[in-house]
Amino acid sequence: MIPGKVRITRDDFDPGQILQEARSGTLGALVSFVGVVRDDGIERMDLEAYEEVAEVELARIREQAISRFGVSHVDIVHRIGMLKVGDHIVMIVVGASHRKAAFEGCEYIIDRIKESVPIWKKEYTAEGSRWVAGEHE
């Protein structure tokens, strides 16, 4: 059983705390990715998910990263709900004995999230709102 967790939440998270909790004596590398709401002239962003399926898909991606790269710790936390510029969107922490597997596992996970996890973003600007196009339209 590889340590770590998958979570979809309406609450903010503390990247430092998640990273701290991932530490263990057997890990030589911890790679983290934090996605943040970028200021593209927007006032806020609403994230929507098909939660039941998104959680299963995140867990599936986590398992695939573990078997593909041999990493030994994976956390994935993804927020939904209304966010403002600078807010955290997603955090991935991948731990491994060595850095290469941790880097590769982390990149694999964020790429797969963008490809298959049912989450959408709606941006609100002073003029109105727009759905963010997926990278796999």
């Binding site: 993804h78 049912p118 989450i119 959408w120 796999h136």
Partner: protein, 94 residues
């Protein structure tokens, strides 16, 4: 004999068709029957769901009972009474 299918729509499709609703389709039913019933519920619906050739657009993602249905013959996938069919546009999380 009509069956009732529970539909869930997300993002742009939720705004067009509603978040959760039921459609009645004649038995034996397929994904295509459900998509047609959903599309008819909104004046702009068909254009969002079907391409110019009348096929369900490849960009429309479809799940039956939370499992994604893919492939060139996905429109023929059977749907049973009480099934949950989800439709959504390409995802944009992360």
């Amino acid at each position: 004999m009509m069956i009732s299918v529970r539909v869930r729509a997300f993002a742009r499709f939720r705004e067009l068709f509603g978040e959760r609703f039921e459609v009645a389709v004649p038995e034996p039913a397929t994904i295509r029957d459900v998509v047609m019933a959903v599309g008819q519920s909104n004046a702009n619906g068909m254009g969002e769901l079907l391409d110019s050739g009348g096929r369900v657009k490849s960009s429309v993602i479809i799940l039956v009972n939370r499992e994604r249905v893919t492939g060139t013959h996905r429109e023929d996938h059977p749907v049973a009474d009480g099934d949950e069919v989800a439709i959504y546009p390409p995802v944009a999380g992360g």
